[in-house]
């Protein structure tokens, strides 16, 4: 097989670029513990509203003894419940979200609060919000003809 000297140089360039990109992601994953939401945990979508953490009374933000916040939400056609969530800025927030009906996605624009919500599973996202003010949870996976109307509000308030 014949390889041109120019081709050989280009292969080094390709190898270098690929190594830099994979290396930076591996660094962020291993050293900074940055992973996509990957909480493999199941739940029955037919009964989750009856009892347990996703019953209506248990939804919303709760402050844990260590100061961090856990937010439990249900994504259902066509909103996120409860429809208004308030969290403190610069605080660790853990979202736990599930769906009783179809597939949904949730994203707060300009932040890394993003996950798919798959019925049968609980999605978990760990994040912090640094910017105070109002933001939106937007559904970003097609869930039916009312998909466009599926959104709710997030309020980030000063810490303390």
């Amino acid at each position: 097989m014949h390889i041109d000297p120019l081709e050989k140089k280009w292969m080094y360039v390709i190898g270098f670029m690929t190594a830099v990109m994979i290396g930076s992601m591996a660094y962020a994953a291993i050293m900074l513990n940055m992973h996509p939401p990957s909480n493999v945990e199941t739940i029955d979508p037919k009964t989750l509203h009856l009892s347990g953490e996703f019953a209506e009374d248990n939804l919303g933000a709760t402050t844990n003894p260590d100061g961090s916040v856990t937010v439990r939400m249900v994504a259902a056609r066509y909103s996120f419940y409860p429809q208004m969530i308030e969290v403190p800025a610069d605080t660790d927030v853990k979202f736990r979200i599930t769906s009783p009906d179809v597939l949904h996605g949730v994203h707060v624009p300009f932040t890394n609060m993003s996950t798919m919500v798959v019925p049968g599973y609980v999605s978990e996202v760990n994040t912090r919000f640094s910017r105070e003010g109002e933001a939106q949870f937007l559904c970003n996976e097609y869930c039916g003809l009312g998909h466009d109307y599926m959104w709710s509000k997030l309020k980030v308030v000063p810490k303390g």
């Binding site: 097989m1 014949h2 390889i3 041109d4 081709e7 280009w10 292969m11 390709i14 670029m17 690929t18 990109m21 994979i22 992601m25 962020a28 994953a29 940055m34 992973h35 996509p36 939401p37 990957s38 909480n39 493999v40 945990e41 199941t42 739940i43 029955d44 979508p45 037919k46 009906d101 179809v102 597939l103 996605g105 994203h107 624009p109 300009f110 890394n112 993003s114 996950t115 798919m116 798959v118 019925p119 049968g120 599973y121 609980v122 999605s123 978990e124 939106q136 937007l138 559904c139 970003n140 996976e141 097609y142 869930c143 039916g144 003809l145 009312g146 998909h147 466009d148 109307y149 959104w151």
Partner: protein, 539 residues
């Protein structure tokens, strides 16, 4: 003279481009509706029926029929003998066409408005799933035709090198068999029995995992003919030679091995897969950029050679010296331009961390339109201009109109997709039919919404020029000589290649092991986990 199966090739190509033209009309309607600037037009029912049809026609019908038609031409013209089984090619055509019609009826009736990804637990009318499956079954018959044509040629020509175009086509046929297995399992064991009421519930997490098996490599199934044209047609029409035949083989082999076991980058944000397997698939995803980077180098080097032969001087002088009146040259350069622009966006999507910011936003729609509708489809259009005289025996109606059309296609695609990338960064979700969010966010989106309508209109006009040119070409003067031996020759044509670069046995073995690790283990884990299932939901 042997039978070149020209009528079956032409029949497949016409189905492809008819689907393309219908889909692009729907596309213009969609950008107008979606912009929210014309509230009187807005209809969610019509929009989601339209966008589902647009996706199925462009992604499944245009591509599958084009690939089949081009494959028949490539097989007969490079191997210089008839197809392995001519009758079977018509069977493949009829099965795929029957399936397309069967899927189109519920789509157009609004009974399958679940988009071309058909994610359960949304459910469509069962004929949609059965029709789509038949389209895939038709393409499997084509795969058999391509693989057997190559195997019988090699048996009769021991020690000879399989022509590069046919080597790539066979790689694509094998890759598509691997690729389509995921969605076929989803259809046969989940969606069809469930939509018919034979099963009460299915696991949407397993369905998404199986769909991701197909979802990424399918784009390489679409891209393969574009690369084959860049390696084996473009250099010759540019007036030069292919820089390296062997490097083409390496790229095709890498695409075959690397495309399939990497689909989890579509599931980065999913809760049913663990971080470790997502990371593993990320590694392969960056690996699959390598054949594209090799292709970009080899094709540009071939074009540079052609430009210098035509008298181009200096670092960039060869670009101006290229034959910009030849549609294939124009398309090749514009395709590479869009590939480079879109490819860097793809690195963000593929990134294990950065994907979070743009996942399922309009950025993603912008990305795949630039790469698929840009790079891939513009090569389909240029190939059509190249093939029409060969298949009809008549000259092309207007080469000038063809060149204009290809430029308009690129301009339209840039005007459409650059605003989409910006909208995605501004947080706009994909797959919405309007923007009713009561938020200052929406005001930032408006100027970009206007731009995308302009882009859609340019693309429709360009597509009209394309279809008119092909139609008129059926009534032009007959050619005295039809040449179908104008495949590009390499600078150093290989007299022999290693066995592994003339066949696929080794590569199939490597892929099998990799698939067991990358998909086998996660699927078995999901089966053991046995998540509570979902019943079907309307929309």
């Amino acid at each position: 003279m042997y039978d070149k199966s020209k009528s079956v090739a032409l029949a497949n190509l016409w189905v492809a481009f008819a689907a393309f033209f219908v889909a692009i009309i729907l596309g213009l309607y969609q950008v107008v509706n979606r912009s929210g600037l014309f509230p009187e037009l807005e209809s969610h029912e019509l929009y989601f029926a339209s966008v589902s049809t647009h996706g199925v026609l462009m992604g499944f019908v245009l591509t599958t029929f084009f690939i089949m038609g081009f494959g028949y031409y490539t097989a007969t013209s490079t191997l210089k003998r008839p197809l392995w089984n001519k009758g079977l090619a018509w069977v493949a055509f009829l099965v795929a066409l029957g399936g397309t019609v069967m899927a189109a009826i519920p789509l157009l009736a609004g009974k399958a408005s679940i988009l071309y990804t058909f994610y359960p637990p949304l459910v469509a009318h069962p004929t949609f799933y059965i029709g789509a499956t038949l389209l895939v079954v038709g393409s499997w018959i084509w795969c058999l035709e391509m693989i057997m044509s190559t195997i019988t040629w090699r048996r009769d020509n021991p020690g000879k090198v399989v022509p590069l175009a046919m080597y790539g086509t066979t790689a694509n046929a094998i890759m598509w068999l691997w690729t389509s297995a995921g969605v076929a399992i989803e259809m046969l064991f989940q969606l069809i029995p469930w939509s018919l009421g034979l099963m009460d519930t299915i696991d949407p997490g397993l369905a998404r995992t199986l769909f991701s098996w197909t979802l990424h490599a399918i784009v390489y199934f679409w891209l393969f003919p574009a690369y084959i044209a860049m390696y084996t047609v473009l250099p010759k029409l540019a007036g030069g030679r292919l820089f390296s035949d062997e490097m083409g083989r390496v790229a095709f082999i890498m695409l075959l091995v690397l495309s399939v076991p990497i689909g989890f980058h579509h599931l980065y944000m999913d809760p049913q897969q663990s971080a470790g397997f997502k990371f593993l698939h990320m590694l392969g995803t960056f690996g699959v950029a390598i054949p594209t980077l090799l292709t970009g180098f080899t094709v540009l080097a071939s074009l540079e050679g052609a430009g210098r032969l035509r008298g181009g001087k200096g670092l960039f002088g060869w670009i101006a010296a290229l034959n910009w009146k030849e549609p294939m040259v124009v398309a090749g350069m514009l395709a590479l331009f869009m590939l480079i622009a879109g490819g860097w966006g793809g690195m963000i999507n593929a990134s294990y961390q950065m994907n979070t910011l743009i996942h399922n936003t309009q950025w993603v729609t912008g990305h795949f339109h630039l790469i698929f509708a840009g790079t891939t489809v513009i090569m389909y259009l240029a190939l059509a201009y190249h093939l029409w005289p060969k298949l009809t025996g008549r000259r092309l109606a207007s080469r000038g109109m063809a060149v204009l059309q290809l430029w308009l296609w690129t301009i339209g695609m840039l005007v459409l997709t650059l605003p989409w990338h910006v909208l995605g960064l501004l947080g706009q979700p994909r797959r919405i039919s309007s923007t009713p969010y009561d938020s200052p966010l929406v005001e930032q989106w408006d100027p970009h919404e206007l731009a995308m309508i302009v882009g859609g209109a340019i693309l429709l006009f360009s597509a009209l020029l394309f279809v008119l040119n092909l139609l008129m070409s059926h009534a032009t003067r007959k050619l005295d000589v039809v040449s179908d031996d104008d495949w590009a020759v390499a600078v150093y044509p290989p007299m022999s290649v290693p066995k592994s670069m003339n066949g696929f046995v080794l590569w199939n073995g490597i892929l099998a092991v990799w698939m067991i690790v990358a998909y086998g283990i996660p699927i078995v884990q999901l089966l053991i986990l046995d998540a509570p299932g979902s019943m079907p939901w309307g929309y």
